[in-house]
């Protein structure tokens, strides 16, 4: 399956947005060559602000730019974009609903070599708790571009996660994209897997494997982590025999627990979560090694489906 870079898609989308709207400005904390915001720097140097290695200041400066009418996109590694600047996001940006777009790059375990200080398995979990924030976790490079176009047009703060590694492309430029909507990637009537980010590709692999055993699994791409819409979830659990969630994030406060809390009282279906169990990451030579170590690989999704269906 064709893989594409989400980071490159982010950088190219910034340039495209910059052409369309002179109010788009970009801030970076000495990681522009990694997040790929450097493409915007080359195209619009006067609207690119290198903030040095000072993420808290970058977050609040972005708020000031937004309050004075600009549309700032600030980016750095997800762990620094979120946790390092949590209170700045909360007070400078979210309370006044400032029109700041935050890019959490190298999210999850995708920066496999750098280890636990640079990996972020809880960034979306904590950012989701802040009122006014929209939180997005794109599945592939094509969806990154579609999301960027949408978030540049809506008013208010948005946090978008960008995976460091090239990922399979499941979405198409031709299909629509709306914040809050969930999109089926694979159809199946026995069970539904609500997957997000890199885990969509793992869920699709699991569905193919299970299909060989006669188990038909539907895979839903949940690329909007917040707002999470109950009606969308209810739509896809209807007629199924089990619910599985799959995410490359902490189980506590993750997608699985969010979905569970929304459907309490609505269903008695078996429910299994594939997520990271209260643990930091670690260094490894490959992304796949880490997904296996933290029990969020394709085989773990398969096991969860079998367990939920008692097969």
């Amino acid at each position: 399956m064709e893989k594409q870079s989400l980071r490159k898609a982010y950088g190219e989308a910034l340039v495209e947005l910059g052409k369309q709207n002179s109010d788009i400005v970009v801030l970076e904390a000495d990681l522009g060559k990694s997040t790929m915001s450097c493409l915007f720097k080359d195209a619009f140097p006067e609207r690119y602000f290198e903030m040095g290695i000072a993420e808290q200041n970058m977050a609040s400066v972005s708020a000031g730019l937004a309050l004075a009418g600009k549309i700032p996109f600030y980016g750095t590694f997800a762990v620094f974009a979120s946790g390092r600047a949590y209170d700045q996001i909360r007070c400078s940006i979210a309370i006044p609903n400032a029109n700041v777009k935050i890019c959490g790059s190298s999210c999850g375990l995708s920066d496999f070599g750098d280890g636990k200080t640079h990996q972020s398995v809880e960034d979306a979990n904590i950012i989701k708790t802040i009122p006014h924030l929209t939180v997005l976790n794109p599945v592939d490079a094509v969806e990154v571009k579609k999301m960027m176009e949408v978030i540049a047009k809506i008013k208010g703060p948005v946090y978008i996660r960008i995976n460091r590694n090239d990922l399979p492309v499941f979405t198409s430029e031709k299909t629509e994209y709306q914040i809050g909507k969930m999109y089926p990637i694979v159809e199946g009537e026995d069970a539904v897997i609500f997957a997000t980010g890199v885990m969509v590709s793992k869920a699709v692999e699991a569905a193919e494997e299970l299909n060989n055993e006669g188990i038909a699994v539907q895979v839903i791409n949940v690329s909007t982590l917040k707002p999470l819409k109950k009606e969308e979830i209810l739509k896809y659990i209807k007629g199924k025999k089990a619910i599985i969630t799959a995410e490359e994030a902490e189980k506590i406060g993750g997608l699985g627990s969010d979905i569970a809390s929304l459907i309490i009282g609505e269903t008695n279906l078996p429910f299994e979560q594939v997520a990271i169990n209260d643990s930091f990451g670690t260094s490894a030579h490959s992304y796949e090694e880490l997904l296996t170590k933290y029990n969020i690989s394709t085989i773990d999704v398969i096991k969860a489906v079998r367990k939920a269906l008692k097969k």
Partner: protein
């Protein structure tokens, strides 16, 4: 208006803002009397003399902005916005009440407030962002930021200080309300930060010192800062926390103290005495 008349007017306004602070705190409630009253003259000069501020044009892109980084002194800013006509006087007494307009710290829902502050150390960063935006728009508007001296221990404001110099921002004037007290005692005892002026100078800022209770000197410092090109200016205001309130002057207990019937009456008498002497 002659220079003398202007000085008189600004002093009268500063005094009125102090009356408003007392009215807002009322009896039996805690309020930031000390750090609000140390700023009365500066706030009066900014809103009623130096800033391009018009209550009917609060969204004008070319307005000057004031960001109160030491957001706990919101009462003095609310007093000025009320005197300027941004919201009805009735709101003053409803400050910090559930159905009131005026929040415990500055909030964007309040007409005339430009940023959410109160979590200390963030206002200068927000102001740097505003200054960059105004420069991109080729606006002649200026951004003013007021920080506390206790607030100087927040690391983020030094990040902002470096950023402002890095970007050669000269449409920003910062103030430090050097009132020498913070929430729990004298700043030099709680968290000693020697040579503030030298620190800001070594960070690349143009440093100006002014008597923070002298409206003419404050106004002159603001004018001086406007003519400094290629770098930002900071005005260190020598002030007295709780200025003109006999029981609160240089008394850390009134950082966020409660007024009783007795202290409220003393407060009003203190202000009456200033008025009579003026």
């Amino acid at each position: 208006m002659s220079a003398d008349e202007k000085t008189k007017k600004l002093n009268e306004i500063a005094l009125q803002l102090r009356y408003d602070i007392v009215e807002m705190i009322g009896v039996g409630n805690a309020g930031h009397l000390g750090g609000s009253s140390s700023l009365a003259e500066t706030i009066a000069v900014l809103y009623f003399d130096k800033m391009n501020f018009n209550k009917d044009k609060l969204k004008d892109p070319n307005r000057d902005r004031l960001v109160l980084s030491k957001g706990h002194a919101a009462l003095i800013q609310y007093a000025a916005l009320c005197e300027a006509g941004c919201f009805p006087r009735e709101e003053l007494k409803k400050v910090k009440t559930l159905n009131g307009l005026l929040q415990g710290h500055p909030d964007l829902s309040i007409p005339g407030i430009e940023a959410v502050t109160g979590s200390l150390g963030q206002g200068l960063s927000i102001s740097v962002g505003m200054a960059l935006a105004l420069r991109l728009d080729k606006s002649s508007a200026r951004v003013y930021t007021i920080m506390g001296d206790g607030e100087q221990s927040e690391g983020q404001l030094w990040e902002a200080a470096m950023a402002a110099v890095n970007f050669k921002i000269d449409n920003l004037t910062a103030f430090i309300d050097f009132n020498k007290l913070q929430a729990t005692g004298p700043t030099k005892d709680i968290f000693y930060i020697p040579d503030l002026d030298k620190k800001w100078d070594s960070f690349g800022w143009n440093v100006i010192k002014a008597d923070g209770h002298n409206v003419d000197k404050i106004a002159n410092a603001i004018e001086e800062a406007k003519y400094i090109k290629g770098k930002p200016s900071v005005i260190i205001l020598d002030t007295v926390k709780g200025k003109y309130f006999s029981f609160a002057e240089a008394n850390a207990a009134y950082h966020n103290g409660i007024l009783t019937e007795e202290t409220k009456n003393i407060a009003l008498k203190d202000l009456d005495a200033v008025k009579a002497g003026a």
